[in-house]
Symmetry: C2
Subunit: 346 residues, 2 copies
Amino acid sequence: MAKAAPIRTDSHEIAKRVRDGDVRAAARLMRNLDDGEPAAIETLRALFPHTGNAYVVGITGSPGAGKSSITDRLIGWYRKQGKTVGVIAVDPTSPFSGGAILGDRIRMQDHALDPGVFIRSLATRGSLGGLSRATSDITRVMDAMGKDVILVETVGVGQDEIDVASLAHTTVVVVVPGMGDDIQAIKAGILEVADVFTINKSDREGADRTERELRSMIELRHVTMPMDHDKQHRFSPTGPAMARSDDYSWEPPIVRTVATRNTGFEELAGAIDRHRAHLEAHGGRLAREATRARAEFLAILRERLVKSALERLGREQGALDELATRIARKETDPYALAEDVAARLR
Amino acid sequence: MAKAAPIRTDSHEIAKRVRDGDVRAAARLMRNLDDGEPAAIETLRALFPHTGNAYVVGITGSPGAGKSSITDRLIGWYRKQGKTVGVIAVDPTSPFSGGAILGDRIRMQDHALDPGVFIRSLATRGSLGGLSRATSDITRVMDAMGKDVILVETVGVGQDEIDVASLAHTTVVVVVPGMGDDIQAIKAGILEVADVFTINKSDREGADRTERELRSMIELRHVTMPMDHDKQHRFSPTGPAMARSDDYSWEPPIVRTVATRNTGFEELAGAIDRHRAHLEAHGGRLAREATRARAEFLAILRERLVKSALERLGREQGALDELATRIARKETDPYALAEDVAARLR
């Protein structure tokens, strides 16, 4: 197989600084990756062999479930254990991403001043796949920086967010008592990625009922998963990239937390640790990383091929707009056009 | 430019049946498109010149805002005007997609028995981009069937859902009084795609305040949009596919509805009609269809190129898994691998 271009010395130097924990170099690299700079991608390649040590925990759930407070308490918990923490907030309502009310933001200041914590937020806009690509890249940089644990906070509705959650080794789904309709929404996508459930605000009425409902959903999961996998196949010619075939034997535990009173976090961290041990004992960690690598590779390949296809055909931004207008006018159809372009490249 | 393969006679025949309104042929075609059958794509190509007549209305908003009830009332309204309606439910909590409590489902039966209404639901799982591709294809089939209006109901959180909403000519964003935090979430993505706001459950306390908040957000939109566009560019090498540069001059109106009492729907339908007239008067309808065509073409091209790249390199499902495992083991990195594969194709 042909070799990719060798990595230049200056990229190796920046990579070295990031690995030494240089916060400024890391922040600049993340910005440049966002901008798609080729030199930044080269640096990421240089970092790649030094990743794989961080444990990635996804925190997901409906708006208002208390994901940010859970993340905040988990940061505190891991810091007390002497572990360094990276935080990626993909949730637009998260105080970490700047979209919070004043009180929350003041609370977060504790961690913002702690050199053992590195926080980065991401906007939920951009093109298809951009969000999980960007999150994946940032995770790798924090990993190379030597962070022990990386917490990724996402809103648990929407496919792109579910895919982001799927980057994690362990995904915690946060629910609150008395969600009613929202349980339905969870059924339709989040359940597949849940490794641990936490009922937050569990001092509220209805926590027992919520736990019962979750338990019956978990039992049903064994029955319905094969069908779900089938559906994923149907949408994707490349197979169920995010499917979790590695851990049918894992029964997601349900823990109870009250983030405002900092109770239940020993139990939650314990459940995350047990899931980690389970993955490692059964080869599931490598399997998850392979699943993630597969999706990452295909996304990069896709971008790469389209970019060079458009370049080689001399299709500048304006030419593409003209093609789009021809499709909109029904002078041609997008399938025929894609076929033409692919044929020209042979 | 090379010509795409000609469309075979039997595909034309199925297309003819769909255009004549054959519900069974249309449903079968949609299933086969889901399965990615080449013959189904051929039929879609045959239908393509006969699309572009339906007016597509997106209904989006947070879970619990009452999107399904709004959709239900709009169906009723358009049917009274003698118009035929297609409905695509991408919202997992929608009664149309079967994820509802009994009462809702019974209510929906009215429309299920009406031959002037065609309802189709889609799961919010699948690979990146699969959801908007599938929705786009189904919209085209309903369009070719001769439906006058197509209502697309989506959950308004998550990038993929926002992209689905962007397929519409007019996007209605549903909010409810006293949302608090959720207004934050709306700011971060939904606002850009909103053409009409409706405050549902507007008989509840706080409707005036919600309207004031929406008004100030709409005013701010003019100021913040350029930055948002810039962010989209940063994630996407192919530009802001879903950006709405065509209608800065349109000020989204805010209407009030109470779906349970069927009030406000003349006003809502009126606002949709005014937006349609505005688009058509300023060339915005073609511009939106071109934006959509551009995204559609690039998505199809991307799939097409990756598929043939993997085929030509003899990478079967198993070989791809092996590559992924090599990446996960840090023996190579996904960027270098994508570069290798792209270089081999030159």
